[in-house]
Symmetry: C2
Subunit: 406 residues, 2 copies
């Protein structure tokens, strides 16, 4: 007998029919002799609809009231699933964040889970009752409902799995698992049976939307075995595990891309100490995250060009801040480009293999793709290229690293 936390996302609980299908999924685990707790998202689209209502009512609104409103979607799905389970003869009960409670800090709209009380849940699971828990929400200070921010239900599931000492946390989505690349673009992409937390973390933060970054971090910290699998198929999915659980490590496990990038180049900034701080300080003050940064070598007049990327949504804001600071920064020109994409190769095998990046650059050059910016980390190499080359680059690299399915 294993103890399993099953998490179902918004498309899996989009209407009563799918909710009944989820109930059958839960029943299958119970029939196999397992103890199950369930975490649910809101019906797909419903949280966006609630957010829209808050914006239409008061554009500048109190985050505490925002949380009261947007936490409703999960309340609906957990009640419905509890009913659906009961009608299959399974003892079940819905649990809101405050009923457990799932204690969070008071940062409304993006709260962090601090502690989950499990005594009552454990007692009930032992007698065969299935807790159906609202994802995305918790109980903050002053008896207020909090929400965890975008994709927070994944984090709820992992935190619950850790608190309940579950053997596995199964994240059901509308894809079959984690793929070597986006199968909508790279038709030869194949599903990975296993992936390490570190790789998954890079994949998640690079826009492979199967898991929320925070949930992967939490799973890694707490040692929760994660499985990503499809609500619509019977196939096993992808297990996210420790590196030592993977015997044969490929050098590159996957190729990710993010279109959510924009490039800014400041031409002719002074090449002297403090100039980077002068540029990135005001951006940080404006809550703008800078991702890749490249500084060219100095020219004869002791100036240099500074290139960096920000999220596409932040481009206009970043340009405005830099223009406002032009007199202090003393650059000669500002060039911005939103039509770029970040392509990354990811794999824990890189640590012990030289020449990985070189292989990437070579493959891209062979296809006439110009690299604009490069950044590397221990298990990742990312390049910025023109957005028009996205598909070509992904397919070329997929082949180059031997990832194409047979």
């Amino acid at each position: 007998m294993a103890r399993i936390v099953q998490k179902f996302g918004g498309t899996s609980v989009a209407d009563p029919e799918r909710i009944r299908a989820v109930a059958l999924r839960v029943k299958r685990e119970i029939d196999a002799g397992n103890e199950v707790a369930v975490v649910l998202s809101a019906m797909s689209g419903s949280t966006n609809e609630l957010i829209r209502l808050t914006e239409q009512t008061a554009p500048m609104h109190d985050a505490r009231e925002y949380d009261a409103v947007v936490s409703c979607g999960e309340q609906i799905t957990i009640g419905l699933l509890a009913m659906a389970l009961q009608s299959l003869g399974i003892s079940a009960r819905s649990w809101l964040g405050w009923q457990i409670p799932i204690h969070t800090d008071a940062v409304h709209g993006k709260a962090r889970i601090e502690r989950i009380e499990t005594a009552e849940l454990n007692k009930r699971m032992k007698i065969g009752e299935v807790p159906v828990v609202a994802g995305f929400q918790g109980l903050g200070l002053d008896n207020r409902v909090t929400t965890l921010g975008r994709g927070g239900s994944d984090t709820s599931a992992v935190a619950l799995a850790a608190a309940l000492k579950a053997d596995r946390c199964d994240i059901y989505t509308d894809v079959d698992g984690v793929f070597t690349a986006d199968p909508r673009i790279v038709t030869k992409a194949h599903k990975l049976d296993k992936i390490t937390y570190e790789e998954m973390l890079e994949m998640a933060s690079l826009g492979a939307k199967v898991l929320q970054t925070r949930s992967v971090q939490l799973a890694m910290t707490e040692g929760v075995r994660l499985q990503v699998l499809s609500s619509y198929s019977e196939e096993p999915g992808t297990l996210v595990v420790n590196e030592d659980e993977i015997m044969e490590k490929s050098i590159v496990s996957g190729i990710a891309y993010s279109r959510d990038e924009a490039k800014i180049t400041l031409v002719g900034v002074m090449d002297q100490p403090g100039v980077a701080a002068g540029i990135f300080g005001p951006l940080a003050d404006g809550n703008i995250n800078v991702d890749m940064i490249v500084q060219n070598i100095s020219s004869k007049d002791n100036t240099t060009d500074m290139t960096f990327t920000v999220a596409s949504d932040d481009l206009a804001g970043a340009v405005k801040i830099l223009e406002n600071n032009k007199s202090a920064l003393r650059y000669s020109d500002l060039i911005s480009d939103g039509d770029v994409v970040k392509i990354s190769i990811i794999g824990v095998g890189m640590r012990s293999n030289a020449g990985i990046a070189q292989h990437m650059f070579h493959a891209l050059a062979e296809h006439g793709i110009n690299i604009q910016v490069i950044s590397t980390s221990e298990i990742k190499v990312s390049v910025l290229i023109a957005e028009d080359y996205t598909e070509l680059a992904l397919r070329a690299l997929h082949t180059a690293y031997g990832l194409d399915a047979d």
Copy 2:
């Protein structure tokens, strides 16, 4: 300075624009120097939509999970109104049933309020914060959300007004107040400035849908001054008060009707002790309420006809129960008729005036309207007539009792 509980129904909070209009209503009371607490319904239609989801998910469902789902609508509106108030510079906070708490019994789906904790609300109202309270919901046993049943938000408002010792409970609806008759049918109907609790109770239970019956009962018991008024006009509404607050009592204050009636006649039942129990016992066991009952005089063969009314929705069920019990009841024929309407004249002045009913029968006879069943109470006379005569009867009685507007 007065302390006022304002309650807004579903059409008044149907979208962000109307919620902002409600915020302005609240602001006006505050600007007039009053302390205000607000109780809200869900957006019109949203609770029905949630009920539909529960029915589609599991036709036979746990009332506790039903409550978890259908209590969501009010959570949305209170959060939105709190935001809207804040954006007008008014300190406000939304309160769910469990946050106050509003303690109820454990009868899910139609719970009764037992106690409202007010210390925190009183403290905050004293410093000018407006509590925006979810109607229709409370906290039952075992930390469960309960709901109060149809129209429960009116009851929430009255109970809160009683607990907060409010000077008045204003129920905002989409009509201007309580009318002498349904103005859609009787164009000469006029708004009543005042009405007694007893009269309002009869009006409410007879289908004048401005106030929920339970809320009027509670207001009467707790001595809460109620006002029914329109969200869309600046006019004062109708005050529901004690009889001694009304100086000039009209004999008949209003005329109500209910189409939700169906008539059943059992022909040739034995006229002997126990026969009524034999008929109505099985109906009560089937959860069918019987309203008007008439037993004709006995005929020579010691049989009689028994006529009674049930809610239209219960007609098929009642007929089935009676047919199943035919051998025990030994009636010769069963006649049912769904095309009937109950017309009632209501007024506390009846107590001290004779001949009121006679006047009614006369007016109906004058218009060729046949009376099928009659029932009377201290302040009400009701007759059952063919549904086709509804409008004619209402107008005739409205004129006959001198209620027509000038």
